[in-house]
Subunit: 236 residues, 6 copies
C-alpha cells in the first residue's frame, strides 16, 4: 500500500470511509457486528491477508492436528506479511475461538497490523492488553477445533457479511472495521481526509451552536466560505 | 412534563420503573437490547419525540437527499424540543447508522435530553464522549442511507419492541431505557421514589447480613417497623 | 470440592479448561454468550447449584407471589450453599431479569461464589460494583415475572447451551464461564495447571520473537528442553 | 379431562381458544413456531404429559444409553397415558431430533392423543403418514443424542415459549397448538364453542357481502338479532 | 394502475421482476420470508394499500377496542380500494396474528387483490381455502392485540425489509412477493414480459439439451437468431 | 462412487445415516435447515461438487458479469459431473437466489443427481416440478448478484453448518440432506442397510402393538430371535 495512503487512513474514521464508499456505490463494505478488544489503540490499517474456516469435521480436528506445521491456521500466522491485516472468515460463528492469545501475540511480533474475525477470540482479556488491534464478535473460550477447520489461505472471503479480497485495504477504529477495494484505496483515502476536515469544521461549528441546516451539507454559500476560512486558519 | 416528576425520575432506576409499570399491567415498556454509549452520565429523562425509519429504496436515498432542508432526519434534529428524548424506530436494524456524531451534538446543543435508537450510531466513540445520554444496539459506521429512510416525525413507533407514543416519558439509566405512558408518569414517578427508598433500605439490611425472607417483600411486621424507623433516621 | 482443586482452578483460564475438556471428548461445556459484569474480579470457582425458569404464565406470576417464602427464586437464594455457583437456566431469554441487585447481594453475603444466567440481570450497574462474580447475556430491567417463572431448584439444566448438573464445577474468568463435570474436576484442574505453565512459557517465548512452529505444540525437541529449563528457572 | 370438554375442543380452532385465553389475561399460551406434519388430521386434544430435554453431554449420550430401560425418553414413551398429549421441551433447538418414527408409532399405538416438540422430528415423512397428530419446528434427522438429553418426565416445562404444566389441556389444529391451564379448560371450551358459533355466523354473513362494521364485534343491535335467528335456524 | 400493466404482471414471475428492478439499481424490493398460503392461485397484482402496526401496549389493546368502528385495522379493511393489495407492516413479528379469516374474507368480498404481512395470519387453514392470494411468514393463532396495535393507514412502511409506498405495485406469485415503485411499473412490466419470452425460449432450449454458455445470456449470435425465430414461431 | 453403495444409499433414510455417522463420532454431517422442493422424488445420491459464494461487491456483480463464460456459477453448472450432487455454500443467506430454474434444468439435463443450497432458489415453483431433487432453505426471487458472488469451484465448503469436501457422498430424502465422508461411504451404506432392515422390523412390531422396551434397541434375546426370523421370512 502507498505509505501516504496508509498515513491518511490512520487519521480518518470508518464512518467517513463508509460514506466515501457509499458515494461510489459500495454499500456492504463494513464488517458487521465486530468490536475492538481494545478501543484505545490507533487505527488499524493494512492490506487483507485472509484465512478461511469451514465447519469442523470431528475426525479431521483432533488436538493432534496442530503438530502439522502445514496446518493452515499456524501456517497463515507465520506467513501473513508484516503490515497486513489478518482477516478470518469464521462464518459469523462465535461458538468456538478463531484464534487465541499466543497466535495473536505471534502476529503482533511479526509486525502484522491487526486481526479481525467475525467469530470470537479466546484469551480475549490477554489479547485486549496487547498493542495490536483485534476485532471480534464476542469472546469464545473453546478451541477452534470444536467448530472451525482452517481450510484456505489468502482467498476471497466474507467477514461479517462484507466481501474481502486479499490485498483489499482494511481499516479499523474504535467503532469497527471497513474494507476498501484495493484499486480505490488511494482515492478513498484522499477523499476521506477532505471529508474529515469538513466534518471537523462542522462539528466545531455545531459545538458553537450553529444549526446543521445549510451547513451539513453546506448548501448555504456562507458555509462554504466559512469552511474555506477555517481550513486556512487551521492549516488543513 | 411536571418538573417534580422529572426530578423524581432522575433518581430512580429503570428496573424500579419496570416493576411499577408491571403492577399496572404494562409488561413491554422496556426498550430491548439497547445500551448507553456512556454509562457514567446521570439519568436521561424527557418526553418522547420520535423519528420513524423505513427500509431505504436506493433511488430515494442518494447522498444528495440531505441537501433538502426538509429531509425528515435533519428536520427532526432541528425541531425536537429542548428537554425531549429523541427516539428513533430503526426496526432493530443496526446494519447502518441511525445518526452520527454531528447530529447528536446538534441535539445536545439544542438542549435535547437524550437519544435512543434500536439500531446503531456511527461516530460512536465521539458520541460516547458527549454529555448527552445516547443509547443504541451496537455501533454502525455505514450511513443511514444504506438501510434506512427517515419517513415520519413524531408519530407513534416501536423501539426495541416497546411501544412509544410522542409525549411518553422516556427514562434511561446505566442499564437501559424504559417508556412510561404520559398519563401515568406522575404516579409512576411517585411510586418509584417510594419503592427506591424501600429498596435502598433492603439493600442496606442485606449488606448487613439480613435474610430476604420476610424482608423483601416485607411480609414480616418487623420489616415494616424497621423500614419506618429507617425512613425517619434517613429523612426519606 | 477438593480445596486444592479449587485453588488450581482459581489460576487457570476458561480457554485452557475448554481445551482440557475437548481432549476428553467434551465439546459443549462453555456457556455461550455470557459475559462478566465486572471483568476485574478473580476467577469464580464453585459447584453448581441450579435454578430453572420456565415461561411465565400471567395468573401465576403477579407481584404477590414473592410474599410466599417458598417461592423457588427466593428459597434458592437463601439455600444455595456457601462456596457454590448459582446457575440460572433462563432459556437464553434476556427480555426480563433473572435476578436483581438485592438477591445478588444476598448471595454474596451468604458466601456464594458467583452467579450465572443465560438471561440478564436487572440493577446491573449495582451488581457490577459488588465483589461477587456475576455473568449474564445483557442487562434486563423488567422483573422476571414478565417472562420467567422459577420452577425447580438444583436439577440438571441447560445454561447457554451447556449442560449443567448440580455439583458440576463451574469456573468463570474475564472471558466467560465453563462447566466441568464433577467427576473429572480434579484431573482437569491438574492438567490445566500444567497446560498453563506451558502456555505461559510459550507466550514468553513468542513475546521474545520465537516462531510458533515446533513450539506450540512443542514438536521440536528443543522446545521441550527449553520448557523444562524454564520450569526449573521459574519454579513451576 | 371432562369428555364433554374434549368433544367441544375437537370442534374449535386454536385461534378462537387464544382469544378466549386472552380475555382472561393469558397472552402466551400458543406454542410458537411449530406446525403439523399432517394438516389433514382432526384436532389434537389431550392433557399434557411432558418430557424435558437438556443439552447433551457427550459422555452421557453414547448410542448405548438406550439399552437402559429407564432412559427417560423411552420410559416416557411407554408411560405416557392414553389420551394424553406428549409435549417435549427441546429448548427450541431443532438441530437434532426430539423423537423419530418408531417412538411416535409406539405412542400412537398406546392411544396417546398427539405429540408436540419445539424442536424437530426425524423420520418426519413417515410420521406425516401416521394417524397421530404431531407438531414440530422442522425436520431433524440427527439422533437426539447429538444435542439433547432427556432428563425429566412430567414436570412443568416451556415449549415454544409457552408454559406447559402436566395436566394442562393441549389443543392442536391445522394452524398450531395452544395450551389451556387445566383449571380453566371447561370454561374455555364452553366459551370457545359459543365464539365459534358466532364466528361461523359472521363468516357466512361476510361471504354474503356484509360489512364487518357493527357485525364483528356485534355492536349493532341488528347483528345480535340476526345471530339469534341464525342460531335458531342452524340449531347452534 | 394501467390495465395493460396489470395484465402483463399477471403473466410474469417475481424472479423476473426482481432482475428487472436490479438492472435499475433496486436491490431490496423483494419481501423477505413470506410465502403464499395457497400456491395454486394466479398472480396477485395491485397497488399497495398499507396498514402499519406498532408494538401493543396492554391498556390500549383490550378486547373492547374492536367495538370502535374507527379502529385502524377494521377501518382499513373496509376502506382498502378494490383491486389494491393490502400490505401490513407487522415488524416481522409473527408471534401474534396480523389478521384472521373473517377480515381476509371481507377484503376478498370487497374486491381487494390480495393481502401480505411480514407477520402471520390466524385461521390460516381457512384463509388458504379462499380465492384471495395471501402471504405471511407463518401461522399465528394469537389475536393481534397480544403483540400488535394498528396505528396508521396507508403510510409508507417496511414489509419483510422491503420499502412499500402506498400506490407501489405489488406482485405475488407462488414464490413470494415483490414491490415495484409506482413510477416504473409500466416499464418494468413491459421489460419483464420481454424477459419472460426469452427465459421461456431458453428453458425450452435447455430442456432440449442445449448448453447455457452463449445462450443465457445470449452472447452467441446464434442464440439471438434462434430466439428471433422462436418468437415468430410462437407468436411472442 | 461404488454403484452398490449408491444403490444401498437409494434405499435408506437420512435419519439412519445420521445415526451410523454418530456411531463413528461424526455429529455435524446433517445440512441444517434445508428442505426438498419436491418431497416425492426418490433419494438423491451422489458425490459432492461444490460452489462457494462470498458476499457480493456491487462493482463486481452487475448484470453484465454473466456474459463471461468463465463466471464460476455458469462454469460450475456446465462442468459438474453427471451423477454428482451440486452443493452450494450460500453462507445460510437466503435473501437472494443461489440459482434459478434454468440453471437447475441444465444440471438435470446434464445428468447431475441433485442440488443443495443453504440459501434459496428462485423460480422455486418451476424447480419443484422438475425431476431433479433440489433442497434449499426458502424461496428467494432476487438474483444472486444482489447478495452472492460465486468465487470458487469444488473446494471444501460449509453448507447448513455441515462440512462438505468435494467427493463426499451426499444423500437426500424427503426429510433433508446428509454428507458422508468419502472414505467411509461404503461402510456407512452397508451398515445403514442393516439398520434399515432392523428398523423396518421394529416398526412392524410396534405397529402390531409391541413395546419398544427390550425391542429397540434389542436388549431382549427374544427380540434378536424374532428379528432373525423376520429377516429370513422377508428375504432381508
Amino acid at each position: 500500500m502507498n505509505p501516504t495512503t496508509k498515513q491518511k487512513l490512520m487519521g480518518v474514521s470508518t464512518a467517513t470511509l463508509c460514506t466515501a464508499l457509499f458515494k461510489r456505490g459500495l454499500h456492504h463494505q463494513y464488517i458487521q457486528d465486530v468490536r475492538p478488544l481494545n478501543a484505545n489503540l490507533p487505527n488499524m490499517v493494512g492490506e487483507a491477508y485472509t484465512l478461511r474456516y469451514m465447519p469442523a469435521r470431528e475426525d479431521l480436528n483432533t488436538i493432534e492436528v496442530f503438530k502439522n506445521r502445514e496446518h493452515p491456521q499456524r501456517k497463515a500466522v507465520e506467513e501473513c506479511p508484516p503490515g497486513a491485516v489478518f482477516v478470518i472468515d469464521s462464518r459469523k460463528d462465535a461458538r468456538a475461538a478463531s484464534a487465541g492469545g499466543i497466535l495473536v501475540t505471534r502476529l503482533m511480533k511479526r509486525g502484522v497490523a491487526g486481526i479481525v474475525t467475525d467469530g470470537g477470540f479466546r484469551d480475549s482479556p490477554e489479547i485486549a492488553r496487547l498493542a495490536i488491534p483485534a476485532y471480534h464478535q464476542r469472546p469464545a473460550a473453546p478451541t477452534n477445533l470444536t467448530v472451525h477447520q482452517a481450510i484456505d489461505i489468502n482467498v476471497p472471503v466474507g467477514c461479517g457479511d462484507a466481501p474481502v479480497f486479499p490485498g483489499d485495504v482494511v481499516v479499523g477504529d474504535a467503532e469497527g472495521v471497513v474494507v476498501i477495494p484495493a484499486h480505490m484505496a488511494d482515492d478513498i483515502a484522499t477523499e476521506a481526509v477532505e471529508m474529515t476536515a469538513f466534518e471537523d469544521f462542522v462539528q466545531e461549528q455545531v459545538m458553537q451552536g450553529r444549526s446543521i441546516l445549510g451547513l451539513y451539507p453546506p448548501t448555504d454559500e456562507q458555509s462554504r466560505i466559512d469552511f474555506a476560512a477555517w481550513r486556512k486558519a487551521n492549516g488543513r
